[in-house]
């Protein structure tokens, strides 16, 4: 008998499912930890301290996410960039500028991030927004915590960044315009992430995805880890020219829903040119 709970974290609704409440609580504790460390909305998070120009002794969680962000920044030739994402979020007022935080420089990118041991800092004024990767890490961390707590089967879904272990589960990928289910995916011991337009009065908005390729409405990536699936959705949406290689690097696969409603298997690079 599986139990499922849902709580607001990471700016979205997070669902955690397992056989016992102890494992569910362990999963939510990990989600809360990642939220507290990496939310750019919270003035005392490690990320907000970095954004104020502090040298910060970062936690293993933040270190893991920044490491992976640097990996995908390099692998994607700069397409995946939490500093560019942060600058864009500041410009449209989606994230706050906390007291003591300088406006990011216009040309800032992730190369301004320095990491030495457990210390990290930004060399010049920049704004890190880990919204494109930290939810994935939170999902992975929750799965690890639930397994440690003895769960044999479970699911964590943070607003579309999700992972399952144990018993396989069916996932519906929804149409971003209508949220009606479009695709059925069977997932077993794997992670899945979807990035898509957000519907509003005028249709779909993509302001939160500054580098989107205009032909795609939604991208879904399946991978071993949610952190990679999460980051890769943004790279696929931007239309990287060597997508197959990047997906292979994370043993990942991608599927896209185009504006026309057609579905593309992105492993074949059909839309990526």
């Amino acid at each position: 008998m599986l139990t499922r709970r849902c709580r607001p974290w990471l700016g979205t609704l997070v669902e955690v499912e397992a056989e016992c409440v102890t494992a569910i609580e362990a999963g939510f504790a990990a989600i809360e930890r990642v939220h507290t460390l990496m939310s750019a909305h919270q003035p005392m998070s490690e990320i907000s301290r970095l954004n104020r120009g502090e040298r910060v002794e970062i936690s293993p969680d933040t270190c893991a996410v920044l490491d992976r962000a640097l990996f995908w920044f390099a692998a994607s030739d700069g397409i995946f960039d939490p500093v560019v994402a942060g600058r864009s979020a500041i410009e449209r007022g989606a994230l706050p500028l906390h007291p003591g935080q300088a406006l990011p420089e216009r040309s800032s990118d992730l190369r301004l991030l320095r990491m030495e041991g457990s210390m990290a800092w930004l060399e010049r004024p920049a704004y890190l927004d880990l919204g494109g990767i930290a939810k994935g890490h939170a999902v992975d961390a929750a799965v690890r915590a639930m397994r440690m707590a003895g769960a044999r089967s479970g699911l964590v879904n943070a607003g579309g960044d999700l992972a399952v272990f144990g018993q396989p589960r069916g996932i519906e990928v929804v149409d971003p315009s209508t949220r009606a289910p479009l695709l059925h995916v069977r997932l077993e011991d794997r992670a899945l992430a979807t990035s898509a337009g957000v519907r509003n009065d005028k249709g779909l908005s993509f302001v939160h995805l500054p580098r989107r390729c205009s032909r795609l409405a939604s991208v879904t990536v399946e991978s071993a880890h949610a952190i990679d699936a999460d980051a890769l959705t943004k790279i696929v949406l931007a239309g990287h020219p060597r997508l197959s290689g990047l997906l292979a690097a994370a043993d990942a696969r991608a599927l896209a829903i185009a504006n026309t409603g057609d579905i593309f298997d992105m492993c074949a690079d059909r839309l990526a040119a």
């Binding site: 579309g160 519906e172 209508t178 289910p181 995916v185 979807t194 898509a196």
Partner: protein
């Protein structure tokens, strides 16, 4: 890596969409009360709010949406108050969320659980391109939308309405319950 085109079971989830809504129930009211206050006696303390009170709450909290009756229970164990359980709902453009907040006797948030979640889809549930693309293919199992959709990956839902709702409940607590 082997190229594969069938790694996702590409199944049109619903060729003809039934009622355009989905609902997920996580917890009943008694189950949520039990989760927050195990073994406690739950005393119904619901409050009818006047229009003036609702207006004052909305102004202070910066968030409207208070119902005419705020459903509140006092948790008691051994004759002593152990906390408050407040039931509330938020209504977004497309979603209806019932949630409960547990407060300590002095009004600090001890926990929050979403009890159920319901959303309506946009007007255009299925477009012609989709039907064309899959015509002649195996339709797969059709979904009974009210029941079967458990796991959704797609456009992220914002938790902003809930954050606003909790702020409104804390103002309600300060105005009506604190010191009671």
């Amino acid at each position: 890596m082997a190229r594969s085109t069938d790694w996702f079971a590409i199944i049109p989830a619903a060729l003809i969409a039934p009622a355009p809504a989905s609902a997920t129930v996580y917890l009943s009211i008694p189950a949520a009360q039990q989760a927050f206050f195990p073994g406690a006696q739950m005393v119904d303390r619901k409050i009818a709010l006047s229009p003036a009170q609702r207006k004052a709450i909305a102004k202070t909290a910066g968030a409207s949406g208070t119902d005419q009756v705020q459903r509140i229970w006092e948790a008691k164990a051994g004759g002593k108050r152990t906390g408050w359980f407040i039931l509330d709902r938020v209504i977004g453009k497309h979603e209806y969320i019932t949630y409960a907040v547990a407060l300590s006797p002095d009004g600090a948030v001890r926990g929050l659980e979403i009890l159920d979640y319901r959303e309506t889809y946009g007007g255009e549930v299925r477009n012609a391109n989709w039907r064309r693309q899959f015509s002649g293919k195996k339709p797969g199992q059709s979904l009974k939308l009210e029941r079967d959709i458990r796991n959704i990956s797609g456009a992220t839902l914002s938790s902003r309405h809930i954050t606003d709702g909790v702020r409104r409940l804390l103002v309600t607590y300060q105005m009506l319950l604190a010191g009671s």
